[in-house]
Symmetry: C2
Subunit: 216 residues, 2 copies
């Protein structure tokens, strides 16, 4: 929401089929929202029928645990996320972070920056371990050298994929893989018969609904 | 060579552009060659101009180190390989195996069987570590759950890819990815500008040269 022009109005006019994951980041978490009113705006978003998930930072959940039940009261599921834009924690620390995210939310999401390829293995290993423990986890290693974790994370149990849409071409972050290509990579590396029903609902040439695009 | 009908005659009639990696496995290494004459046949193959690499098992290299210089005398480079069809060794053991393969050969190749996804991470980690030490390493995790290591191993430094050609469709091992698809996956996950010149010489619809196909 922090990158949208009038997020609440835009949600009001959204009539697409796909459910929405709402997030409203401040600069500490890679976004542009001011702290004032940040969670209120996210809470307002969570009231919309179209918003199925809300992504709340672990640090926020920890500091303001009481808000979580209020969000749940609006019939949304919670993604509790941790971002590290500078490094990837050690395996044990990352596992503890995922455990905490899972404690507060329905899906534990971690995005870390790999300074070496061995960090991408730490991330994949932590996703696999959490999945084996029964946690619904999701994760990516950011940046160029972590890019492939977006494509193969699903093998290690990652439950969410993140991909820019065609209209986002000026907004790609390093390592991001556009939706059509990500879909093809996931499809090509799938081992089991897991359905990609939701992704099947998205055409490869889908563009951002006009009501959700940024003004030029 | 152990799966070819008349490998030496077939090499004689080979007039393709692509250099050949020759191997002649006995059953201990997943092949069909009898021990008697196995290395002699491989040695005869190494005399052909078209044969650029010979793959010799680490166990063979260790037991018969003197043959390595004889092979080199035929102007071939040596891939020294280790296969484990039942398991993946611990990280330290795998690193020691790669070091030994590199001690004897130009390329150290390991193929191990993952019993869990964490084993695929051990393999990728060992490839990365060896590459950082300056070793030309190659490796795959076999089987279905290791399949993606064939596609992303290059990111961790793996120097060789293995893919069946179209004519091999009855001979696919579990987890193998056909050439065209493997090429697309490698292309899609490449980070740097490394050239795929050699692969570019192969058309996606290439079939096994008739002189190298198995009789029906």
């Amino acid at each position: 929401m922090d990158k949208a022009d009038n997020p609440i109005e835009q949600l009001e006019s959204y009539d697409g089929e796909l459910p929405i994951v709402a997030t409203n980041r401040n600069q500490w978490f890679g976004g542009k929202a001011r702290d004032t009113g940040r969670l209120d705006t996210l809470f307002a978003a969570s009231r919309f029928e179209s918003v199925a998930y809300v992504d709340i930072e672990l640090e926020t959940a920890r500091a303001k645990e009481w808000i979580l039940e209020e969000f749940r009261g609006n019939d949304v599921r919670l993604i509790i996320s941790h971002h590290d834009f500078d490094a990837t924690p050690d395996r044990e620390v990352l596992a503890a972070i995922i455990d905490q995210c899972a404690h507060y939310g329905d899906i534990a999401k971690v995005a870390t920056y790999p300074t070496d390829l061995s960090d991408t293995l730490v991330l994949l290993g932590a996703l696999h371990e959490a999945t084996q423990k029964g946690i619904d986890a999701a994760g990516i290693a950011m940046g160029e050298i972590g890019s492939h974790t977006r494509a193969i994370g699903h093998i290690y149990g990652s439950k969410l994929g993140y991909a820019p849409l065609l209209d986002d071409h000026d907004e790609y972050a390093p390592g991001q893989i556009p939706l059509g290509k990500l879909r093809a990579l996931i499809e090509a590396t799938r081992v089991d018969g897991t359905s990609l029903e939701r992704i099947d609902a998205i055409e490869d040439d889908v563009t951002v609904p006009s009501e959700l695009t940024l003004p030029n």
